[in-house]
């Protein structure tokens, strides 16, 4: 077993520098790497490019980095729910690249898998395909998309072990799984860190080979963005 544990988020983020490209897992506020985001704010790294499906809300998630003007560019599929984001985008303070959600996921997956490029039908005939190679396969048109390149991937899992093996919970798996191993260094924070051998090898979603550093996260808020309920009968 190759031990990937580091003692805390400070150690986990060693080597982070200004102008790096960072991947951050999560969908909306679900499954975001809360500890790593707080550490990025604390370190005040500047001019980072963030690849993340969403951009958080004004006072939580990536909104915390936005508020401090740390983000040079966002690469996302959906960035609503954030007034400061809107302001920085419309004023030109921040660059935004919007790409289809499935393409975003597959570009992460391709980076994890050593596949430099693939074809997808998403975005064909739209401005998303502008400047990109398009091609017909079996009578249907596709756009060629490239694997992402990133310096760090910050992801959050439910359980993890010392070997870096990860298990996610519910829909908090989302981009977290696909970003593992998709950057030079993958940092995983987990709600529960256990010794190697405690997780069933059959139930591991992401093997530790895709993770360089893992640590026991703390103080999770796990904020709910849209609380929708039914009355109890």
């Amino acid at each position: 077993m190759i031990n990937k544990t580091v003692s805390n988020v400070e150690k986990a983020c060693e080597g982070i520098k200004d102008s790096m490209t960072l991947m951050l897992g999560g969908f909306g506020l679900s499954g975001i790497p809360e500890n790593a985001i707080n550490e990025l704010v604390k370190r005040n790294v500047q001019d980072v490019t963030c690849i993340s499906n969403n951009a958080g809300v004004d006072d939580f998630g990536l909104g915390l980095l936005l508020r401090k003007h740390q983000i040079k560019k966002m690469v996302s599929s959906y960035v609503g729910e954030n007034k400061e984001f809107e302001r920085q985008m419309l004023s030109g303070e921040m660059e935004v690249e919007l790409i289809p959600q499935g393409t975003l996921a597959q570009r992460c997956q391709a980076a994890q898998s050593g596949i430099p490029a693939f074809f997808t039908p998403a975005g064909y005939g739209t401005e998303v395909a502008e400047g990109k190679e398009t091609r017909e396969f079996d009578g249907k048109m596709y756009v060629m998309e490239r694997a992402f390149k990133a310096d760090f991937a910050f992801i959050k899992a439910w359980k993890g072990d010392e070997a870096g093996n990860l298990i996610f919970k519910g829909t908090a798996r989302n981009f977290n799984a696909n970003m593992c191993g998709a950057a030079k260094i993958t940092v995983a924070e987990v709600e529960e860190l256990v010794p190697a051998g405690e997780l069933d090898p059959n139930q591991i979603h992401i093997p530790g080979i895709f993770v360089q550093r893992i640590f026991q996260g703390k103080d999770y808020e796990k904020r709910i963005e849209q609380r929708t309920v039914r009355p109890k009968k």
């Binding site: 289809p100 039908p121 739209t126 919970k169 799984a177 709910i224 963005e225 039914r230």
Partner: protein, 218 residues
């Protein structure tokens, strides 16, 4: 009588067949789940990573790790599964999802759809819409027939940036059910009490009216 949003959803629910996996967009499409017959087998997919999505949780049972693509707290039904985003779009891109229902700002008579961006306004992003419309064999658009300014949303050509090309198969609006084929809107059903003239008036694109057009049934 122009349909309410609930009635549009109710009419679309009739398009949901036994054995269908369905992806519902935000807005009117979300309401469709409430009207699907309970004697057929249907599963709802949400692109953030669940198949077999159930209703909202009971008060106090919300789980931040269990949401839909609209970021709403949800539940999982027996037989549900969770998966990552890449696998979710494998279901969509690989045409394993049978039916996609989504809203739109514009639809053109060739099936083009524009529903993600208004130049000059804040752009929130396309989310999974471009993947969905580029992939699904069966796409139904749920929308009002005209926009707030009273202009038709069923056009000869889209004026807004496109989400996808030649993909919309069917449209259900507050006025009508229409099929999109052969570069025209084909009127299939009228909302109860709505005349063909009213529909013609509200449709900028070419409208084909063949024979008697029945009123919708729910």
């Amino acid at each position: 009588m122009s349909l309410s949003k609930e009635q549009i959803a109710q009419r679309i629910a009739k398009e949901v067949k036994d054995g269908y996996y369905v992806n519902l967009g935000i807005g009117i499409p979300t309401l469709v789940a409430n009207f699907v017959r309970d004697d057929i087998q249907v599963e709802f997919q949400s692109e953030n990573g669940i198949l077999g999505m159930g209703p909202f949780p009971f008060e106090g049972e919300e789980d931040p790790d269990l949401i839909n693509a609209g970021k709403q707290t949800i539940t999982a039904l027996p037989g549900a599964s969770f998966f990552d985003s890449a696998m979710s779009f494998s279901m969509i891109r690989g045409q394993h999802v049978d039916l996609t229902i989504l809203g739109s700002m514009e639809v053109a008579q060739n099936g083009n759809i524009a529903n993600w961006k208004i130049p000059g306004k804040m752009v929130k992003g396309m989310g999974g819409a471009m993947d969905l419309v580029a992939s699904a064999e069966n796409i139904i658009v749920a929308m009002m027939h005209t926009n707030r300014a009273g202009n038709s949303k069923l056009l000869k050509e889209c004026t807004l940036p496109l989400t996808g090309v030649e993909c919309v198969r069917k449209i259900v609006t507050n006025l009508a059910v229409l099929e999109v084929k052969d570069n025209a809107f084909h009127l299939l059903e009228r909302a109860p009490g709505v005349s063909i003239d009213e529909i013609k008036e509200a449709t900028e694109g070419d409208l084909i009216v063949n024979g008697d057009i029945p009123e919708m049934k729910f």
